[in-house]
């Protein structure tokens, strides 16, 4: 009994551009392959952090709902369906937090399905050299399953002292008239090493507790702040290299889209067999590490 990924989609073309437009294209692909009508979407959560013009209000998810044309006016044109949309953010692994929230709402019966969308674009919607993320749209359509598949366990950990290794901001004092086009990204030289240590510790606890110390896991899907992070992590967790699905070489670091993008590619390549167990690991700023165990 758990929350099951019914379908995913990714969008890799013509970037960078509007985050709303990228999410719309990805979400429409996703629901088309899922065979879902727009009106049947109950919940839209956006977990992308970086968006055009640094829009702070309204939630990007509501703009995506608008651009997709999903239950636009469920009051005056009420036909029994409505949709609720909001943004949920917690760094690169935010999607696992959103899945946990959707999982709770599926369990209480508040919703029948959830669409989680993400992508990160520099606020200027231009290619900017210091911006470390590549824009790849991702969408996941989630439903509840009673067949023993889906997500069964989660763990969410963060360091007890907020790390200054990675932080992003816009200074409102010295941005002049360029506030919509700026993103300050501060990353220490030690960030990846510190993040790896913290992730090894958290994921290590997780596999001991929930995955027979890793022997129950066939695949590792993790955020990839650099191209060796996944392999370094697997080796430290004493997991075989072949379990790591590495997409950093193909798409750079798609940040909040990393986990759904990697899942999508693994699924597309036929790597995932019914009954396989996937260890999802979302690690990022904070330091923060979220793990989820998923049965295909």
């Amino acid at each position: 009994m758990g929350t099951f990924i019914r379908k995913t989609a990714i969008y890799t073309e013509k970037n960078p551009f509007s985050s709303v437009e990228c999410s719309r294209k990805t979400a429409e692909l996703c629901i088309a392959v899922a065979g879902i009508e727009k009106k049947d979407i109950d919940l839209i959560i956006n977990t992308g952090i970086y968006r055009e013009q640094n829009i702070a209000e309204p939630a990007m998810a509501t703009l995506i709902q608008k651009s997709m044309g999903v239950n636009l006016d469920p009051i005056l044109n009420f036909e029994g369906n409505s949709t609720f949309s909001f943004d949920l953010n917690n760094g690169a692994g935010g999607v696992l937090y959103a899945i946990q929230v959707a999982d709770a709402m599926l369990r209480t019966g508040k919703i029948k399905n959830a669409l989680i969308v993400s992508n990160d674009v520099h606020p200027s919607t231009k290619a900017v050299p210091h911006f470390p993320f590549s824009q790849v749209g991702s969408a996941m359509f989630l439903e509840h399953s009673n067949n023993g598949d889906g997500f069964s366990k989660f763990i969410f950990k963060s360091s007890n002292f907020t790390s200054k290794d990675f932080y992003t901001y816009v200074s409102m004092l010295d941005s002049g008239d360029q506030g919509r086009n700026i993103m300050n990204v501060k990353m220490s030289k030690e960030y990846i090493d510190h993040l790896l240590e913290f992730t090894v510790q958290t994921a290590g606890e997780f596999i001991v507790k929930y995955a027979d110390n890793g022997s129950a896991v066939q695949h590792i899907i993790c955020t990839m702040p650099n191209h060796t992070f996944g392999l370094d992590l697997a080796r430290r967790l004493k997991q075989p290299d072949r379990h790591v699905i590495n997409t950093n070489g193909d798409y750079g670091d798609p940040h909040t889209s990393s986990l759904p993008v990697t899942y999508h590619i693994a699924h597309d390549k036929g790597l995932l067999k019914k009954g396989d167990k996937i260890l999802f690991i979302g690690a990022g700023a904070g330091l923060t590490c979220a793990c989820g165990l998923y049965c295909v």
């Binding site: 640094n54 209000e57 939630a59 006016d73 005056l76 409102m172 506030g179």
Partner: protein, 358 residues
């Protein structure tokens, strides 16, 4: 399944008071309308030169925990919900999450944490999510909070409005604040949430934007206020009537034996006093057309907009806190909170109050 409830509440209002007159006196181009008359807003609180969203939220969280039966180390979820995320005074932060900074400062080390963004519906979106996390058995309690330094948009409006009709006029209504609520599962049937409903009518999602200005450093809010009002008044009455009819059995469970009212108090999003008064009347005129609930009487309106303005994501909780402090609200009262925020998110949150200390 047990109900969720507010276990404790905290609030922090910055000390500095700015009157509507003081704000207008700074402007070269005055509005064509009388700001105070049309909105009812006399004063709003303003951040000091050293205050930011983080500090306002943190102060509210500490106030909340000082009235709570829970220690920080026992908190199982921390959900940050503001529009503005200023830290280090003037840095609008994206990563790490604000909820992580708060969690670590409080020492809520075992809590699940994340940030929510849903315009002025932020706090109530957090409540909606936490209610589900608790009912699904994921967590037993949690803290929902917001620190909102939203007067940055008023500062921008004062500098930039040059025409008597301008999308930034609504920015003059806002005020700063921090609020926090601890929620847990109710220990008795008589207290807690009976109804939590939310939807987004995204048709009007593009009528209000908050984003950095293109003329000055700082953020601005651009609202098609007239259109927003016109579209909303068409929809809020039928939406709420539908909810009241659907849940009539739950609402009437606690009918006040003295006043005969099924709902004692209503807390709308605090936008403008006249709009709120007319809105409540509109809803209950609509209700009279529906047979099953036609006898529902008008609840009392709770408004603190005169003193605090529109505090955006915290508005319902600034009102709840002050109505408790002023001893207007008492244990056993029933309250309907109505979120109404850019997006446009509309909802209904109906609960019966327990003993909340302030």
């Amino acid at each position: 399944m047990s109900k969720s409830r507010f276990e404790s509440i905290g609030c922090y209002m910055p000390e500095k008071i700015v009157t509507s007159k003081e704000l207008l006196d700074k402007m070269k181009t005055k509005p064509l309308f009388d700001l105070e008359d049309i909105t009812g807003i006399k004063n709003r609180r303003y951040r000091s030169e050293t205050e930011d969203s983080y500090q306002l939220g943190l102060a509210a969280a500490k106030d909340c925990l000082s009235h709570s039966g829970y220690k920080a180390s026992e908190i199982e979820a921390v959900i940050w919900t503001s529009i503005t995320s200023f830290k280090n005074v003037s840095e609008f932060q994206f990563e790490p999450s604000m909820s992580l900074h708060i969690k670590n400062e409080l020492g809520a080390n075992k809590a699940l944490n994340f940030d929510i963004s849903n315009a002025c519906a932020g706090m109530l979106t957090g409540v909606y999510i936490l209610d589900n996390l608790m009912r699904a058995g994921i967590v037993k309690n949690g803290l929902v909070l917001s620190g909102e330094c939203i007067t940055h948009v008023a500062d921008t409006a004062v500098k930039e409005i040059t025409e008597p009709i301008d999308d930034q006029f609504a920015s003059l209504t806002v005020g700063d604040s921090g609020t926090a609520v601890m929620m847990d599962q109710s220990t008795n049937e008589e207290e807690g949430f009976e109804i939590i409903e939310f939807l987004t009518f995204a048709e009007c999602a593009e009528l209000c934007f908050g984003m950095p200005s293109t003329q000055n450093p700082g953020i601005a809010m651009y609202a098609k206020a007239v259109d927003l009002h016109a579209e909303s008044v068409k929809r809020v009455p039928p939406f709420l009537s539908r909810i009241l009819e659907k849940y009539e059995h739950l609402i009437c469970k606690y009918k006040n034996t003295n006043t005969k009212k099924p709902i004692d108090y209503v807390i709308p999003h605090q936008t403008a006093l006249k709009v709120m008064i007319a809105g409540v009347k509109d809803v209950f005129n609509h209700v009279k057309k529906i047979d099953r609930i036609k006898d529902f009487e008008l609840p009392e309106l709770l408004a603190y907009i005169q003193e605090f303005g529109n505090t955006s994501s915290t508005s319902h909780f600034v009102v709840l806190y002050h109505a408790l402090k002023d001893k207007i609200l008492k244990p056993g009262n029933t309250v309907l909170m109505v979120p109404h925020a850019s997006g446009i998110s509309i909802g209904a949150f109906f609960f019966r109050l327990g003993k909340l200390k302030v």
